[in-house]
Amino acid sequence: MSTAALGARVSQGFSLRSSLSRNRRWALITSYVFLVIFAIFFLIPPYYMIVTAFKSDAEVARMATNPWIIADGITLDQFRILLTQTDFLVFFKNTIVVTLCTVAITMVVSVFAAFSLGRMKFWGSSILATGIFLTYLVPDTLLFIPLFQIVKAVGLLNSYWGMVLVYPTLTVPFCTWIMIGYFQSIPKELDEAALIDGAGHLQMLTKIFIPVALPGIIAAMIFAFTVSWAAFVYPMTFLYSADQQVLTVGTVTSLIRGDVYKWGMLMAGALMAAAPPLVIYAFLMDYYIAGLTAGATKG
């Protein structure tokens, strides 16, 4: 090859590479622009919640000041009043009890259901798996009427234990679905090796599948936690006395009287209610993402 031809090939290579890097740079710039817009859009409500929670009632009510900043200085009055003069702590305790019980029930039911549907092939297993997911598609706004009859029949109307009964109808189908996918992504040789090693199905589940599928299980747990922590329609329908209320409905009903909104306390309550899910997501986000995307690609 002549020197001129070689030079032309080299310069062609350079221009190809520089055009690739230019393309990549533009793709990155576009991504960042949209990500920043997206982040700002979704961070405005929490920001508004935080600044309002640390304002005094007088500042919140004053229309003349800029609502986006704290003009009169930070105050913890909203939190103090909320914790000492309202039933907020009762709501918090009730929510913790309901959520922990719901997560526990959901995990036990979902893990067993997903293991049997995902790993033990039997007649109708795939139809059942699809059926379970379909139940998730029925919204709680439709289900609460028949569920009201059931909760009433078992004597759990106006009791937060009724929530422990009904929340799993929201959490079990989706958690089972997530874990079916996760269990199916585990190579079948692993259970065959366990069978040959002498494990029964229960031992296979507890000693092999649960530890191996832990990211999927944690993802399902976070989902169940979030759903039961944030549920609104069911407690709104089934609970009506303050001592049984949970955070979502209790905060709203006790802090909105007619057309009087206690904005400062509402925001302080919302901030405290949002704290536990935030902490959990911060620590377990990697597991959550790994669990949701498991089986999407060959490992």
Binding site: P187, E192, A193, L195, I196, D197, G198, V212
Partner: protein
């Protein structure tokens, strides 16, 4: 330690018959390799012995006892899988001891057995590691260790070396043979690699289309294949097959391969092929039996000249390709005597090693 026997074993998946009534006897301590192309039923047979697949019909005996309805754990077998199937959340020690723990062995006994197996496989320093921190070869050793600690009646290997690179595969092959010599246990090993089969096995079972084509020692299989399939499957490069006619030549016989090439059938075999004169047959001869004339006393009658199409130097030998009557033939010659492509070369056929095959039945005559 136990013998394994299969009697009229059939496995059907819906309408597909994967294994078609096979019979096999494996004596105590024997290393048997099931070999064949994909879909020949070898893995299904192994999985039926393991208890991972149910039999459609027939019986499987381990140690003289019918095990058809026994679950895998009660068959006293251990299996090594192609993808190792190590438990990813457990250390090497925990992986190897899992089966013993489930069988409620004492801790001291578990430790003794794991240490012993680790020493045999040279993985003592890996016992605390998780599988993800091991190389492919180390994982395969751990999988073997998991089988050894159980001291089972039968070892089952399902293509254990297929996931390893070529060099490691050769190393591990030797390792498996060494371990079998140390831990004398009846072993059934499945592979599609005929070199693995030949090097490891006491006896090789060649399977094709759900049937056993031949059961024989590696040497016997190589020199005396019973069918065209076995003759073509065993040996690399594969045996050459050429259409031929048997002709009478005075008191002797000749195999006519083309208008130009006719080779003498050895006198010792003349009586065997006497009745085949005039019939169209297939002449089979391995590449290593078509060489440059190596001795001065080579029978001139067994030699022929041919123009080479392709020449592949391999280092210690050279493969040369040419055609006879439009059929491609491979020959394995000494690198020093190989000619270039397009050039003419004189070759010698070792007719004592030739096979005649019935084209209809595929049987070696």
């Amino acid at each position: 330690m136990a013998e394994v026997a299969l009697r009229n074993v059939v496995k059907r998946f819906d309408n597909v018959e994967a294994v078609r009534s096979i019979n096999l006897d494996i004596p105590d301590n024997e290393f048997v390799v099931l070999v064949g192309p994909s879909g020949c039923g070898k893995s299904t047979t192994l999985r039926m012995i393991a208890g991972l697949e149910e039999l459609t019909s027939g019986d499987i005996f381990i140690g003289g006892e019918i095990v058809n309805d026994l679950p895998p754990k009660d068959r006293d077998i251990a299996m090594v899988f192609q993808n190792y199937a190590l438990y990813p959340h457990m250390s090497v020690f925990e992986n190897m001891s899992f089966g013993l723990k489930l069988r409620k062995f004492a801790k001291a006994e578990i430790k003794k057995r794991v240490d012993n197996a680790a020493r045999i496989l040279d993985i003592t320093e890996l016992l605390d590691r998780k599988p993800k921190a091991l190389s492919g070869g180390q994982r395969q050793r751990v999988a073997m260790g998991r089988a050894i600690v159980r001291n089972p009646k039968v070892f089952l290997f399902d293509e254990p070396l297929s996931n390893l690179d070529a060099k490691l595969r050769v190393q591990m092959r030797t390792e498996i043979k060494r371990v079998h010599q140390l831990v004398k246990t009846t072993t059934v090993y499945v592979t599609h690699d005929q070199i693995e089969a030949m090097t490891l096995a006491d006896r090789v079972v060649v399977m094709n289309g759900g049937l056993i084509e031949q059961i024989a020692t590696p040497q016997d299989l190589y020199h005396h294949p019973k069918t065209r399939f076995v003759a073509g499957f065993i040996g690399s490069p594969a045996m050459n097959f050429i259409r031929c006619h048997v002709e009478q030549n005075g008191v002797g016989l000749r195999a006519r391969l083309s208008d130009r090439i006719s080779l003498p059938i050895p006198q010792a075999q003349t009586s065997r092929f006497q009745g085949l004169t005039g019939k169209e047959l297939i002449f089979g001869l391995r590449p290593e039996h078509i060489t440059e004339p190596r001795r001065t006393d080579c029978d001139q009658d067994c030699q022929f000249d041919t123009a080479l199409d392709v020449v592949e130097p391999m280092g210690m030998e050279t493969m040369v390709y040419f055609t006879i009557d439009g059929q491609e033939i491979c020959s394995r010659v000494d690198p020093g005597s190989a000619k270039g492509p397009g050039e003419s070369m004189r070759l010698h056929a070792d007719m004592d090693r030739m096979h005649l095959i019935d084209p209809q039945s595929g049987a070696v005559l």
